[in-house]
Amino acid sequence: MFGIFRQIAARDVLGINARNARFISPHNPRRLFPLVDDKLKTKALCETHGIPAPALYGVVEAHGDLRVLPALLAAHPDFVIKPVRGAMGNGVLVVTSQEDGAYVKSSGVRMSDAEVRHYVSGILSGLYSLAGSADRAMIEYRVRLHPVFDAISFGGVPDIRVIVFKGVPALAMLRLPTRRSDGRANLHQGAIAAGIDLSTGLTHHAVQSNRLIEIHPDTGNRVIGVEVPAWEEILRIAAVSAKMTGLGYLGVDVVLDAQLGPLLLELNARPGLAIQIANFQGLLGPLSMLERIDTSLLDTDERILLAKRVSQELRPGSAPAVTPPLEKVG
């Protein structure tokens, strides 16, 4: 509407209004939202479609179940507790070990039995759920940091976000926790976002709080030119996730486990737009190309191939050469 947006529009940047009206509304039927908003439903879908996901240890359905919580947790030295209907990684508690009856958080802080129970009861009351309504808490496998990421993340596990449109990956980024983001992969809290070249799986561009960055501020290692391991598998997970939920416009979050490889962490029916800054590339580029293509008859491999071809067309320059990770600093 205003001339002041000319340059932004020329770069194919997708705005929130356009995302909602042009992509989410027509491509994401409301009735499918529960499949991604409810992480247990997502997990069940993963199982039937052969998508690897962190193992589920148990679910706390109601306050009455809190009594059996210690027994449930005792069986697992480390675990993650999260709200079934949480958003943006809110309300996630990561316990890395148990020592003399206390739970040690990833930050090193110890929590007593009572504190964990209060925490879970907060989840049940709906403190972290999307609409503030009552929720359940799920306890699942704690993802181990992959050695490749050990050099470029601080205090937490990075994840990979892929935006999938009509079953075809459109844009991807790697989110790296920092000291500033408190070990979380939340961009607005100061995590690093690195754009990933879809065809090669190499990070080509990275930002922290809207500023260009090449070196992880806490580890001193380069975050550009990193090759994301098992990239093909990650693309497969993204493409299949879109198909299994039926959502046309989807954010797929994948984590890389040291032993198990890529695992689907969660899906998002209203994925954010910061991925464009991480890639320094507008989403409207791939999205409007894919809008004109009928992808409904393509199988998973064909869709991944299409994703790579679209990516190469929009980002013709070769990605920077792979740089070997340095020794971890600090």
């Binding site: 209004n17 356009a18 042009r22 403190l127 607005h188 500023r211 800054i277 320094f280």
Partner: protein, 530 residues
């Protein structure tokens, strides 16, 4: 944007324009109504300082007369017994009891000023007849402070060559003398009785009025002192005095500080005849303040009457056919859609983050009662104290519902405390916080503390500021009287609101906030981190 949607929106706009045009052109509705010129809301406030156990205060209350109609009277006497008594054709209020220090008596009423009688002061009037003199004896006889029988008065009249054989001429001469030759002071220059003022040839308004009445009575013109206040919109004034002289069968107002050719301002008459406006007994000091406001609501009443008596279908279907209580509610409710429009504009076109979708509007509605500065102050105080409370509560690790209920109780107590505090500071804005949506405030505090914990104080502050900015803009819309009147008279304007919302709902352009968010794409590169 689909053509069908645009067509629907256009149809809405056309329908609204059509209806409004029809109502204005054929049914004589006014687009921009004039404020009622003759209706006022007046408040008289008496403050008592250092009262005894058996205090008594008497003050004059305005009464119906040829110049004014009094209605909708309300009294609040703060623990004193309150009577209204007639006295010599006036009304006096008597309050008796054991008031507290600084107690207030407030008397509020509405008044309508009646147009003054047409006609000019007669050129020549013969001496007074016997029958008339008998009938108006009280207005001719000397009084304690109006010594019309004093020697000084008669010698002064002689000196000025004023005689009673043409009373119209005498009146003009006397008035000219009082206005021109007696200096006007603030009334603190000595005794203010007629004789003293005439001796000094200067005095306050009250003294000059008494002097003029004394001289008028000395030439057999029935006259009296009148006390009242000039009406100024939004003003607050002291009691003033003037003279009414009876000639040719009617009373003529004479302002002892103005010539006859200067038109007197509109005035509220408090009492006729000499007297002090307020008489405290057993009280060290009592002050009387009169404040007034031109009524705007009156226009609604005029419409209501006009439309209520009409047989036309559109008039019958209009909102003016609602009972007053419902009408007052709908006057406000009909502005809420405009507030929602403001929110939609700020969120979807500008991209201002807010707590909840309609929270800003609810805050604007609360601001209606208190105004912006007070509203903001009260809102931030309550939320601030509540946040500290919530923070301390965090350690107790309560379950959510009891915690929210705890917070709700806390908010109500904070508001009660602030009301008491404001009352003691003498602010009448205090009651307005009671109207704040308490549940909304509670949820604000809860969401604020979660936002601070999860997204950091910076992001939380952004959302708070966003919410308040939108609430302030919403307030400008919701508290606009002209707009309120317009929307109430032409509710079909909301078809246009709907049309705008329809179009805005399909707006896929950028938000203003994205201009900064994606500034890297504007500049062609990102800023490098330091």
């Amino acid at each position: 944007m689909s053509l069908r949607l645009i067509a629907v929106a256009a149809a809405f706009v056309l329908a609204a324009t059509g209806l409004i045009t029809y109502k204005v052109v054929w049914l004589d509705y006014e687009l921009d109504p004039k404020p009622a010129p003759d209706r006022w809301s007046v408040q008289m406030e008496v403050r008592l300082f250092n009262p005894d156990d058996s205090a008594k205060v008497t003050f004059f209350m305005p009464a119906d007369g040829t110049n004014q109609r009094i209605y909708d009277e309300r009294v609040s006497a703060e623990g004193m017994r309150f009577f209204i008594r007639p006295r010599d054709g006036n009304r006096v209020a008597v309050a008796v009891g054991k008031p507290d220090e600084g107690s207030r008596l407030t008397y509020r009423f509405s008044m309508q000023t009646l147009p003054p009688k047409e006609g000019e002061l007669p050129r020549s009037v013969p001496p007074i007849g016997e029958a008339e003199a008998k009938q108006l004896a009280a207005l001719l006889a000397p009084e304690e402070s109006i010594q019309s029988d004093a020697e000084l008065v008669s010698s002064l009249l002689e000196e000025l060559e004023i005689r009673g054989d043409d009373r119209a001429k005498a009146l003009r001469q006397i008035h000219e003398f009082i206005v021109g030759d007696v200096q006007t002071t603030d009334g603190h220059d000595g005794p203010q009785d007629a004789l003293a003022v005439l001796q000094r040839e200067r005095g306050g308004v009250h003294g000059k009025a008494r002097a003029e009445v004394a001289m008028l009575r000395a030439v057999s013109i029935p006259a009296r002192v009148v006390a009242g206040v000039p009406l100024t919109d939004g003003g607050s004034t002291d009691v003033t005095y003037w003279v009414e002289a009876r000639l040719d069968g009617r009373f003529w107002p004479l302002d002892p500080t103005r010539g006859l050719d200067v038109a007197a301002p509109e005035r509220l008459i408090l009492h006729q005849g000499d007297g002090v406006a307020i008489d405290p007994v057993g009280i060290e000091r009592a002050t009387l303040a009169v404040s007034m406001l031109r009524e705007r609501e009156a226009q609604f009443q005029i419409y209501q009457r006009k439309i209520g008596n009409s047989d036309r279908l559109l008039d019958k279907l209009s909102l003016y056919s609602l009972p007053v209580k419902t009408r007052v509610l709908y006057q406000v409710l009909l502005l809420v859609p405009l507030g929602a429009l403001v929110v939609a504009i700020f969120r979807n076109l500008v991209g201002v983050p807010t707590f909840g979708t309609f929270m800003p509007i609810l805050i604007s509605l609360a601001f209606r009662e208190s105004g912006i500065p007070w509203g903001l102050l009260l809102f931030s105080t309550v939320v601030g104290i509540g946040y500290v409370g919530r923070h301390l509560l965090n350690r107790a690790q309560l379950l959510m519902v009891p915690r929210l209920s705890f917070l709700l109780t806390l908010v109500i107590l904070i508001i009660a405390g602030l009301m008491v505090l404001a009352e003691h500071l003498g602010s009448n804005k205090a009651f307005s916080i009671a109207l704040f949506p308490i549940v909304i405030i509670t949820m604000t505090i809860e969401r604020l503390s979660i936002a601070i914990a999860e997204e950091g104080p910076r992001n939380a502050a952004k959302v708070v500021i966003g919410t308040l900015v939108v609430a302030i803009f919403g307030y400008w819309v919701i508290a606009n009287d002209t707009l309120q009147h317009f929307v109430f008279t032409f509710p079909e304007i909301h078809l246009v609101t709907l049309a705008i919302l329809l179009l805005m709902g399909r707006y896929t352009g950028y938000r203003l906030s994205e201009w900064t968010r994606f500034r890297a794409f504007r500049k062609g590169s990102l800023d490098r981190a330091a």
